[in-house]
């Protein structure tokens, strides 16, 4: 056998074996006996795994003892970097996605936007059929009508009859509100935006560029 690569001895295998057993048993006992909690414990067992991998790479695979230059060590390091990016990146992105898009909340929003009234027999709160369409026209800072009476599952259209792009905010200038997850609507000039009235109650809205233009709508169940 070539002298250059495997300069392993029984001793190196035995020490690798014993160290690996130790680094397997310790995290096992720590986990089973649960002396430490949560994230700390997770960090400890992953730490033990990483150390054990380096023990085996060194004592069993004899990395770093081959012919120079050590292309295999270089390749190993490059692979570790790629793994770090792939695994770390996936976990980072997916945990943020999970954090920012709670699955229940996402399902509700989807059900609303797609008008899915029930999933497997469970009511989602979304409207099954749209009933009446109410219109609110905005022109030259005038909002008409200023008070709209509607029932749940009706729709409400804000029509921009002005020659400029407009925006309305929900709530009052001093206290903002959300309606169906939205805090504001924007209508380009001459166009409208329509919302489905899922939530019941009385809601106010105003034109942020002209705070005296206000209105409200009342949604009855």
């Amino acid at each position: 056998m070539s002298k250059s690569s495997h300069q392993a001895t029984v001793g190196s295998y035995v020490s690798g074996f014993i160290l690996s057993i130790i680094f397997t048993i310790i995290p096992y006992y720590v986990v089973v006996n649960k002396n430490i909690s949560g994230n700390q414990l997770l960090a400890i067992i992953i730490g033990f795994a990483i150390v054990q991998v380096f023990i085996q790479v060194f004592f069993f695979l004899h990395l770093g003892r081959g012919p120079k230059p050590l292309y295999n060590v270089a390749f190993f390091s490059a692979t570790l970097c790629a793994i770090l990016l792939v695994v770390g990146g996936s976990l980072f992105i997916m945990s943020h996605l999970h954090y920012n898009m709670d699955s229940l909340e996402t399902a509700k929003q989807l059900a609303e936007s797609e008008a899915i009234s029930q999933v497997e027999g469970n009511k989602t709160g979304a409207c099954q059929a749209i009933k009446v369409n109410h219109k609110i026209a905005i022109m030259h800072t005038q909002i008409s009508p200023t008070i709209t009476e509607a029932r749940q599952c009706d729709t409400l259209s804000f029509i921009n009859s002005d020659s400029v792009n407009l925006k309305i905010n929900f709530g009052t200038p001093t206290k903002s509100e959300t309606y169906a997850g939205q805090t504001e609507l924007s209508m380009r000039k001459g166009l409208s935006d329509t919302i489905t009235l899922n939530q019941t109650g009385t809601y106010h809205f105003y034109d942020p560029t002209n705070l005296s233009s206000t209105g409200s709508f009342n949604v009855q169940p």
Binding site: T24, Y28, Q56, K68
Partner: protein, 194 residues
């Protein structure tokens, strides 16, 4: 290179490096499967989590079996260096038995899970579990088949330089699978009980 090399030695080193490159790409594949598993860890769709499904003792037993087989595989390589054919066959057989025991344990676990209704199609968590651990098991199966072929060659042709090179590749492959298992043991089995 500092010293001139004979032809055989350079073939040996190039083969080892080529195989090392393969192992690293394989490692990347496992890394992706680990990432998928970690992301889908809680996606049980109301089904049981790993804590209710896995047995830490069985996982520890499997780990020690595979670790021992990795160790005996190393001893086989030392016998190869000494040119002792019978010792090579003895240690390879030991390695094979421990590897087979490991694989059987894993198959028993899979069968039990599927029998209890926790199949790969049950939920995303089970899918990622079976894919990750199953891919490793498939590698072990391939390694065992390869080992049988190599042992047959050693019996019929003896320890030629060609055979020594193949034995070195096999041992690298086997140690590599043990290293991947360390992470499966930690991330899949131990982590379920944290």
């Amino acid at each position: 290179m500092s010293k001139p090399m004979n032809h055989e030695e350079s073939v040996y080193d190039r083969t080892m490096f080529g195989f090392w490159v393969y192992l690293m790409t394989d490692l990347l594949m496992f890394a992706v499967l680990f990432a998928v598993y970690a992301v889908l860890n809680n996606s049980t769709a109301g089904g049981p989590t790993g804590r209710e499904l896995f047995s830490p003792t069985a996982a520890l037993t499997g780990t020690l079996l595979l670790l021992t087989s990795s160790f005996t595989c190393g001893l086989a390589m030392i016998a190869v260096r000494k040119g002792n054919k019978n010792q090579v066959l003895f240690w390879l057989t030991t390695t094979y038995i421990f590897g087979l025991a490991f694989l059987s344990l894993e198959l028993i676990e899979f069968t039990k899970l599927i029998h209890e209704g926790h199949a790969p199609s049950s939920n995303a968590f089970m899918s990622s579990f079976f894919i990750l651990v199953g891919t490793h098991g498939l590698h072990i199966l391939i390694g065992l088949l390869w080992m049988v072929i190599i042992m047959a060659y050693v019996v019929s042709r003896g320890l030629t330089s060609n055979m020594m090179r193949k034995l070195a590749l096999l041992s690298m492959y086997w140690h590599f699978l043990d290293i991947v298992w360390v992470f499966i043991f930690t991330i899949v089995y131990l982590r379920a009980f944290v």
